[in-house]
């Protein structure tokens, strides 16, 4: 007589779990080592982008409601303050524009390549999904491309790493995967600032004898042509020099307020145009944006001094 089997479940779920685990491992390995899965990621990213919009909805509604109930007097006060601020900034801008012009002319005198500053796009912030990444509300439809730098009014924030149709993912400068070439404002010492994975940055491979002090301001140097030059990156927080080690340990506090952001700017990297090739390089690309870009204007204008000096 055959033994009657009780309470034994025939289930293939265990094998299925094993298969899925192996599949997970394979995907993880492929996604870490190769860019093969990027198209799939972009498709999913675009498909679930409404979620980012919906999740930021309560905050947007809140802002709208607060705006709707702002008193008239308050609005007038804000408007006056903004007008004054705008006037002040306009005044400074005029000075900067003449300095940029002067700078370009001097560069042409030196026959060095001319730096063309990238265009700036204003974007809104959707979510900060992990502390070290954020999602912005424009994608390739809004002319955002991978590698562009992201700034706010106080300094450099990070760079665009993935772009969907209407959202993009930004790696913050505090992320370990991110490095920014910087220079000290005081004495132009160059270094590389790497994110520490928390809320600051570290200067890598700076010799103990280098002149970097606590309180030094760091600006992006534009080397590597990923980040535009001249934007504040951070302030040196502490310098630890251990004579037994070849490199100093330097901690940097980021300038940008990474924890309270609403609107940010996406900047294209600086381009370098060789003065000799400038008529070819600048003309086709610069044509549509002549009015907005003083640097490009300076490029297209013939520099009168050059001829005079060569005589």
């Amino acid at each position: 007589m055959p033994i009657k089997v009780l309470f034994v479940r025939q289930s293939r779920a265990g094998y299925l779990l094993l298969t899925l685990t192996l599949l997970s491992c394979t995907l993880l390995a492929v996604d870490t080592r190769t860019p093969l899965l990027t198209p799939a990621r972009l498709v999913i990213m675009t498909a679930i982008s409404p979620l980012h919009y919906i999740s930021s909805l309560p905050e947007r509604v809140g802002t709208t409601v607060i705006q709707a109930f702002t008193s008239r007097n308050q609005l007038i006060r804000d408007y006056e303050a903004l007008k004054r601020e705008q006037l002040r900034l306009q005044g400074r801008l005029i000075r900067f524009e003449s300095i940029i012009d002067e700078n370009e002319r001097l560069r042409q005198l030196l026959n060095s390549s001319v730096r063309v500053h990238g265009e700036v796009t204003a974007v809104g912030l959707l979510t900060i999904s992990t502390p070290l990444e954020m999602v912005i509300d424009k994608g390739w439809l809004g002319k955002i491309s991978v590698g562009q730098a992201v700034i706010d009014s106080t300094g450099l924030l990070g760079q665009v790493v993935t772009t969907g149709a209407s959202i993009s993912r930004v790696l913050l400068i505090t992320n370990k995967a991110n490095s920014v070439p910087v220079q000290v404002r005081r004495n132009n010492v160059h270094a590389i600032a790497v994110g520490d994975g928390k809320d600051g940055l570290l200067l890598k491979d700076v010799a103990v004898t280098q002149d970097i002090r606590q309180g030094d301001e760091l600006v992006s140097s534009g080397l590597g042509q990923r980040f535009p030059s001249g934007y504040p990156v951070g302030v040196v927080d502490s310098v630890l020099r251990d004579r037994t080690k070849p490199f100093a340990e330097i901690a940097v506090r980021p300038s940008a307020a990474l924890d309270r952001l609403h609107h940010v700017l996406v900047v294209a990297a600086d381009r370098f145009v060789n003065p000799g090739a400038r008529s070819m390089a600048a003309a086709p690309e610069a044509a549509p944006k002549t009015a907005s870009d003083p640097a490009t204007e300076a490029l297209e204008r013939p520099a009168p001094q050059t001829g005079g000096l060569e005589n």
Binding site: L17, L20, S24, L51, P58, T127
Partner: protein, 161 residues
């Protein structure tokens, strides 16, 4: 439970979990306080509505969470599939448990998933292994009874004949 009724409820709650996962936290609230809503949710549905959540679907949902959180593809799939597997393997037993006992099981599963995820992140993208991740286990554990109390009436209302 009627196997054909209320099939929309599970995807809907999963979308809710995704929203809660990326929702803005008030300024100053650290990210590690956020519970792993999806793990708690998968455990709840496998116990409450057996046969409705499969391993493969759980794994595919994991891909969505990977993209949502900017993780490497395949990271969350394992955790969700494991949760679904354990939930359905011990479904009869877990159904008989009190809410307190189920919460304890949720904590154990959340800890396992959190451990695997943290380790994978540390190995693959050089993320920090932080003890604060343990807090997320605690919040996930607290999220489970909350989900159970809110969703059980809904499940009874829409999934029964």
């Amino acid at each position: 439970m009627n196997p054909t009724r209320g099939g929309w409820l599970i995807p809907l709650t999963l979308i809710g979990a995704m929203l809660l996962t990326v929702a803005h936290l008030a300024a100053g609230v650290p990210a590690w306080l956020r519970p792993d809503w999806a793990v708690a949710l998968f455990l709840f549905w496998t116990i409450t509505a057996p046969g409705r959540t499969g391993l493969v679907w759980a794994w595919i949902t994991g891909l969505l969470f990977d993209v949502l959180l900017g993780d490497r593809l395949g990271l969350h799939g394992f955790g969700f599939a494991l949760t679904t597997f354990l939930g359905s393997r011990f479904q009869e037993r877990l159904l008989m448990y009190s809410l307190l006992q189920q919460t304890a099981v949720a904590a154990v599963i959340a800890a396992t998933v959190q451990a695997v995820n943290s380790l994978a992140r540390a190995l693959l993208v050089d993320a920090d292994l932080s003890a604060l991740a343990l807090v997320s286990i605690l919040t996930t554990m607290l999220a489970y009874p909350l989900l159970s109390v809110t969703l059980r009436p809904l499940a009874n209302r829409f999934m029964r004949q």
